[in-house]
């Protein structure tokens, strides 16, 4: 992979957009790659702990037909391609009781920003992917997201956030957020230093994984030797974690309510309790 590709988020100095491909290739080395019509969406089929799995990643493609989606962004083509690859699995396994698992390698710097994208309805393309992943989960496919790099905003909604389980590498370059720091500073009329200061008291605003984990949105945080250049040990650790999650997901475990247990999600629980108490009106 070309090391000169830089993430579009200028606030990060590390080159991390290749992580998705690195991890995808590492985990699927022995497996059948399955070419899609969209080179930025990589798919491989295989097994993990005896369970049939489909691995899916969105990766950079410098020759992307849509110029504003070259760096691993989730754009029009990616949204639809993800949806189709997942729909195909749902359809193929319709009659099976043992549904294939979906393993999502997540390193998505953002959704694609552009005139063509908006005009053609990129929101609808991302919705196609969201819909496919949620349908897969709700129809009994174990869906596991493995965060190896950025998991940003709309891109993460489309590729990762509908998973039953979320596993993340404990590494600086792994980040979940609604907006890159530079853009967030502009929009909220603060400096990046002020944002960092605020993040110490406001965990949902923080860019570090530990704060994010306190929201209950990560099931397993893995300490690897190198997130960029994974070692054999790292590979084993990740495979063990994926296997453990697969075994943990029971056939009726098709919702995402477990995310509400996080330490810093008290209000999310409180609101649901109130709604439930008032729902019937008696």
């Amino acid at each position: 992979m070309n090391n000169s590709i830089h993430s579009i988020n200028a606030s990060s100095t590390t080159d991390i957009t290749c992580r998705g491909l690195t991890w995808f290739e590492l985990l699927t080395k022995q497996l059948d790659k399955h070419s899609t019509q969209v080179p930025s969406v990589q798919v491989a089929d295989g097994e993990l702990a005896g369970r049939a799995c489909r691995f899916i990643a969105v990766v950079p493609d410098l020759n992307n037909h849509f110029p504003r989606a070259k760096n691993g962004e989730v754009g029009l083509l990616e949204g639809i391609a993800l949806a189709r690859e997942v729909q195909a699995v749902i359809k193929a396994d319709e009659q099976q009781s043992d549904k294939r698992a979906l393993i999502l390698v997540v390193d998505v710097p953002s959704q694609a920003y552009g005139r063509r994208e908006e005009t053609l309805g990129i929101h609808q393309a991302l919705a196609a992917a969201v819909s496919a992943y949620a349908n897969a989960r709700q129809s009994g496919h174990p869906v596991i997201a493995l965060l190896v790099g950025k998991a940003m905003s709309g891109a993460y909604l489309a590729h990762g956030y509908q998973a039953n389980r979320i596993i993340a590498l404990s590494d600086e370059g792994v980040m979940v957020h609604a907006m890159g720091k530079a853009a967030a500073a502009r929009v909220t009329q603060r400096t990046e230093a002020e944002l960092d200061q605020l993040a110490k008291e406001i965990p949902p605003m923080a860019y570090d994984l530990k704060s994010y984990a306190s929201l209950g949105l990560i099931d397993n945080l893995l300490s690897v030797e190198s997130a960029c250049h994974p070692t054999e040990n790292d590979k084993q650790l990740v495979e063990q974690a994926l296997t453990a999650s697969l075994l943990d997901i029971q056939p009726n475990d098709i919702g995402i309510a477990r995310r509400l247990n996080g330490e810093n999600r008290e209000a999310s629980r409180h609101v649901r309790d109130l709604l439930k108490a008032q729902w019937s009106g008696d």
Binding site: V38, H65, Y113, V130, L157, L215, L275
Partner: protein
């Protein structure tokens, strides 16, 4: 501006979130859940010294539309740009989750989402994003039973993660004032440059993502006037249509080949987009 003391009587756009629900539901059937008098405000805005609102910018109510049990969620676009934080997001997600349970028990219940939103509230960033993922999961569960209808009437429009939520709904209804797009115009201009996207050129923006264009491109189901009567009629009409045989999220996937053949050297015009979206999937 919505909720101003003087409003046009019959306008829907100019009404506050709470009034919109009241006008939409059958007379005297509205019952608000977590009313503002319960003071369930954002725990995170207060910590940042930002003035809160008693309903955190989202109104949830149960009631009937044309006699049918419905839960309605309305976002107040005037408060923090209609952005979703932990509380406001949980109100929508939680209400939809309960509507799913209701249907699972055999009691039909539809949902209407009145969307005026820029998406995630950046002061509560990751909890807003998480709530949107939960809202999306609930919409996908609920739309299998009964229609989930998105209303995008403006003035704010519907952007960010919530534009994806709208796209997941069974039906989308828009007015001319409404806009529907993933990225806010200003964000695109900043990320991609003014040549790509001139956020201050209002006719340009509306020509790409306004209600009329979205309807003529087949990305929404209904294009209506700004009146309470037409909003209600359109909602009733779509509730009566029931669950669509194929959801838009699936139909849209037929466009892949057309997108792969699109000339991406030149910029796209609104007319090209309409033609491609209406004919590209082979679904005339």
């Amino acid at each position: 501006m919505s909720n101003s003391p003087v409003v046009k009587d019959n306008s829907f756009v100019e009404q506050s979130a709470r009034q919109r629900i009241k006008r939409l539901l059958d007379k005297d059937t509205m019952r608000e859940l977590i009313s503002p008098f319960e003071r369930v405000t954002s725990p995170w805005l207060a910590k940042q010294g930002i003035v809160s609102q008693f309903d955190d910018g989202v109104v949830i109510a149960r009631g009937k539309i044309d006699g049918e049990e419905t839960v309605v969620a309305a976002i107040e676009g005037s408060f923090q740009g209609g952005s979703l934080g932990e509380v406001s997001g949980a109100k929508i997600a939680g209400a939809l989750e309960l509507a799913v349970e209701e249907n699972a028990k055999g009691n039909p219940m539809s949902a209407v989402l009145i969307l005026e939103t820029g998406g995630v509230r950046l002061q509560e960033a990751n909890l807003g994003l998480a709530a949107i993922a939960e809202i999306q999961s609930a919409i996908i569960s609920l739309r299998k039973y009964r229609p989930v209808i998105a209303l995008v009437t403006g003035p704010v429009g519907c952007f960010g993660g919530m534009s994806i939520s709208a796209a997941l709904c069974s039906y989308i209804i828009m007015t001319r004032e409404g806009r529907l797009g993933l990225n806010g115009p200003l964000v695109i201009e900043q990320e991609a440059g003014i040549v790509e996207y001139n956020a201050s050129d209002r006719p340009f923006i509306w020509s790409l993502i306004g209600g009329k264009q979205r309807f003529e491109s087949g990305l929404v189901d209904s294009y209506i006037n700004d009146s309470q009567k037409s909003v209600r009629e359109a909602v009733v009409d779509h509730l009566n249509r029931g669950v669509p045989s194929v959801h838009r999220t699936e139909k849209y996937c037929d466009l892949l080949e057309a997108f792969l053949h699109l000339d991406t050297q030149d910029q796209i015009t609104p007319e090209n987009a309409q033609q491609l979206l209406m004919e590209g999937g082979g679904h005339e």
